[in-house]
Symmetry: C2
Subunit: 524 residues, 2 copies
């Protein structure tokens, strides 16, 4: 942050804006309950002060609530200038839904002022504060900007940590435009960029003038410092927006998500189990884009029911990517474990147990390489299988991070085809063959699941849209199928509880934004 | 609930009280976001109506907020009488901390009334509503009972879902007494009993008269229906409280937790890996108390570094409990997996990797029995090792439910000794020998961890009391040790993220009540 302030000041900027809770990262979660952690955030603000002689620093940070009543903290925006905190505005609207827990920690603002700087009055808001335009959002009863308008501000600034989903940028633009429409003021919207484990922030900061023209939309998934001249912004007639392609946005988001997970934990190298199927192939390509081919290593682990083409397809992908691969047979370990279990299982027939043993042997081998070599294991599950529990806990569900776990299988296909457009890096056969776990002879996913285009549609209606089975049936789906799928989703909550964090690209991902009882009896 | 109403009416009761959100279970979590689920809760209320001719039914249930502004739901208490809902009071104080997420779903009440029934005016409150006595709780600014006192009620009733921790009952009594002290009214405090996955509810409903005498404290961890005569309650001078012994409370809580987890999921049988050590021994005893010896099965899985006494101790415990046990050697599988990995690992020396392989082979074997036989695997980790990451993900960290994961190792010892008082069921050697994972020659826990009495004290200060390393050092602990331990806690969040749910017996358990970033940089 100090470097950014110096750079901005060097370019003659009067003001530099950071995002919401920039000192702590977003979301800091229960770190906020440690007095010590709050002390550190105060110290971070102190460290910025010496650099504020010629520039005003606008920065999001937690502040203590001096009043005994109410929560201990505010989610605040400070203005630091000439080595002092010259203005503070707390956040008013505290999102407490989906991935957000702000009411757990913060007291809402009950007092609003504008800040005057170099002859301009600035209305300073934080993220959700601008999402109740004209009090039309049913979740809230206060519109902070309405309150500030009595002071006749000249500019609106919003410091955000607005998480990515593949349609978030469009919704953000709509909200900023709706605010401009209402207040007829130039609007600077500053969004956080970077990943906090599963939560991705895509940047895409906005400068919109009083006429509603998007003067600039900054890059997605890239830290940037840009200087804008207010007069030029106000005069501008030429809009500049980023391209919004769902698959490209998802690809960029997942690449940044992998990068930040590794680098923030101090790791560089990934290990992946490559099956020859599409999920692991796509995960592998994304990992190589994120970490570099030299940092991705794969194991091909054919077992008793693997087809020849699987090994060939996997090897072909590894060679296309130029990544290190090893082929190890699991048959010996599979026999040995079955042998150990023989006295207990006696003559019981082959069932899911033996399928899971194969998947878990692969988990043990991958984790062994992870432990010995210091590579983080990347999980390769997709959202469709995570939803219905089509995966082995401690087997293919293992890993430090789930890369494509918020993509339905149909989206996995779509992203693979999108990535293949240019160089055809994923072997055609990997995309075209029918999905199979290859854990019993001639197995196909469609033996135990409906076709993915139908499954995914039902899952989307149930998970993203929280529709009831009855409502979904009314839209033309088979009643028994819908009930069976909803039931599978709910009864497999125990598996997802132990799944790795999932990079979130949709509006409703498995993980901290979807909190379900395990023993609850709804649709189970 | 219908049976309870019939029984109470048969005993001549005028009023029957159920607990908070009795129709949905507590906490229903994001089920509340499904319209369909709310419909079902309305239907549950309708099903109670026909039984209310001669008795008033007081019941907690979610209700829709008819106003567009604010959250969609209220957390409500209804009075059903003569087939109609004759009174509704919404909850005012919505806990949003630790395991609680009520502000995620509910709009707080802004309107308070008392309810008149058979000549008595009743102030009806819900759980947290009574925890701001005289507005002295800094988290809240409204005291609902103060608001209701303008209507001069004769009785206070509180419908609660107040979760268990080993000191919860004492705190509840103190709060109810403080309310009685302030209002001088008879107080009926009805608490939920039963487990919702990791959250335990201990019952212990209270009847306290206007003089502050605890006329009755109902049983812990046991569903009960008792009829009280108001006149007798008011006249009573003889207090009746339950015994509060920390270890007995924890034992009862864990037994109920296991029972409800299994029965609510439709399972009866458990499988446990019995090592000869104390954690698995205690887990096994608790499982046998919960499910019956005939429903607990164990595997003894000696490996290359297991001592003879471990197998002997484990076998002795199994025989003491009369549970089914099998002894299987893991050496063959260990050799086979090492052999598979040889070309990759080459001459790299033995390290944590090989220790983890042994633990994971045991995980595979236990899960295989779970899959084949339909037994749920119980996890045997304790809180000390979960805190510092002394455990193998997908190995000994596997399982559907963690039974003793909220007990520090010193508490594990304490509970084991408590249980042994009567029959000495746990072999003395299991309790007295130094803890060891036995994953390398002559290993002891104390090789890599400080002694448990010191470790646990530091962990308690950091986890339960959220103290900073500096503050802990000031209390007389070694600086390097404190920093190292706090760092271990924070950097092992990735492991706990994938751990099974932990039966919560303390005021701060790992799980939904402690929400920490994985890549966050605080003390890491």
């Amino acid at each position: 942050m100090v470097d950014a302030v110096k750079q901005a000041a060097g370019q003659g900027a009067d003001i530099i804006c950071f995002s919401e809770l920039a000192t702590t990262g977003y979301p800091p979660r229960d770190f906020l309950e440690f007095e010590d952690f709050i002390d550190l955030s105060y110290r971070a603000i102190d460290k910025l002060k010496p650099y504020s002689d010629d520039i005003a620093i606008l920065v999001g940070t937690p502040r203590r609530n001096p009043v005994k009543e109410g929560k201990d903290l505010y989610n605040s925006a400070l203005v630091i200038h000439q080595r002092e905190i010259v203005f503070t505005q707390h956040k008013t609207l505290l999102p407490t839904y989906d991935i957000f827990d702000e009411y757990r920690y913060f007291e809402p603002a009950s007092h609003w002022e504008v800040f005057e700087f170099k002859g301009k009055k600035i209305a300073l808001t934080i993220c959700e504060d601008i999402w109740n335009v004209g009090n039309e959002n049913p979740m809230y009863t206060i519109c902070p900007l309405d309150e500030m308008m009595t002071d006749k501000p000249d500019i609106v600034i919003n410091l955000s940590a607005s998480p990515f989903s593949y349609d978030a940028a469009q919704r953000r633009i709509a909200v900023v435009k709706a605010n401009v429409e209402r207040y007829k003021l130039p609007f600077f919207y500053i969004n956080h960029c970077g990943a906090q484990t599963e939560i991705l922030f895509d940047g895409g900061s906005l400068v919109v003038n009083q006429k509603g023209i998007i003067v600039d939309e900054m890059s997605y998934f890239e830290k940037q410092i840009k200087v804008y001249d207010l007069d030029e912004v106000q005069r501008s007639t030429r809009p500049h927006e980023q391209t919004k392609d769902k698959m490209e946005l998802i690809r960029m988001g997942l690449v940044m998500g992998v990068q930040d997970y590794f680098h923030k934990l101090g790791f560089e190298k990934a290990i992946i189990g490559l099956s020859g199927g599409l999920d692991s192939a796509l995960t592998c390509v994304l990992a190589a884009q994120a970490l570099g081919s030299e940092n991705v290593r794969v194991l091909l682990m054919p077992g008793p029911y693997s087809s020849d083409h699987s090994v060939d397809d996997a090897r072909q992908l590894a060679e296309n990517l130029g990544i290190q691969y090893d082929i190890v047979q699991i048959n010996e370990a599979y026999k040995s474990l079955n042998h150990i279990l023989e006295p207990i299982f006696a003559d019981r027939p082959f069932d899911l147990t033996e399928e899971n043993i194969q998947a878990r042997i692969r988990g043990v081998l991958l984790m062994a390489v992870s432990n010995k070599m210091g590579n983080i294991l990347l999980n390769t599950s997709n959202k469709s299988e995570a939803a219905v529990g089509y995966g082995t806990l401690y087997g293919d569900m293992a890993g430090g991070l789930s890369v494509i776990g918020d993509l339905y299988k149909t989206e996995v296909f779509e992203l693979a085809r999108y990535i293949n457009q240019e160089e055809g890096i994923i072997p055609v056969n990997t995309i075209s063959k029918p999905p199979s776990a290859e854990l019993r002879p001639d197995q196909k996913d469609s033996d135990s699941l409906p076709e993915y285009d139908i499954l995914d549609e039902i899952l989307f209606k149930y998970i993203e849209q929280t529709k009831s089975p009855e409502d979904i049936v009314e839209e033309g789906f088979d009643q028994d199928l819908v009930r069976r799928i909803c039931r599978m989703v709910n009864t497999n909550e125990f598996k997802r509880h132990q799944a790795p964090p999932v990079l979130r690209v949709s509006r409703k991902a498995f993980g901290m934004g979807r909190r379900m009882p395990i023993v609850g009896k709804y649709l189970s």
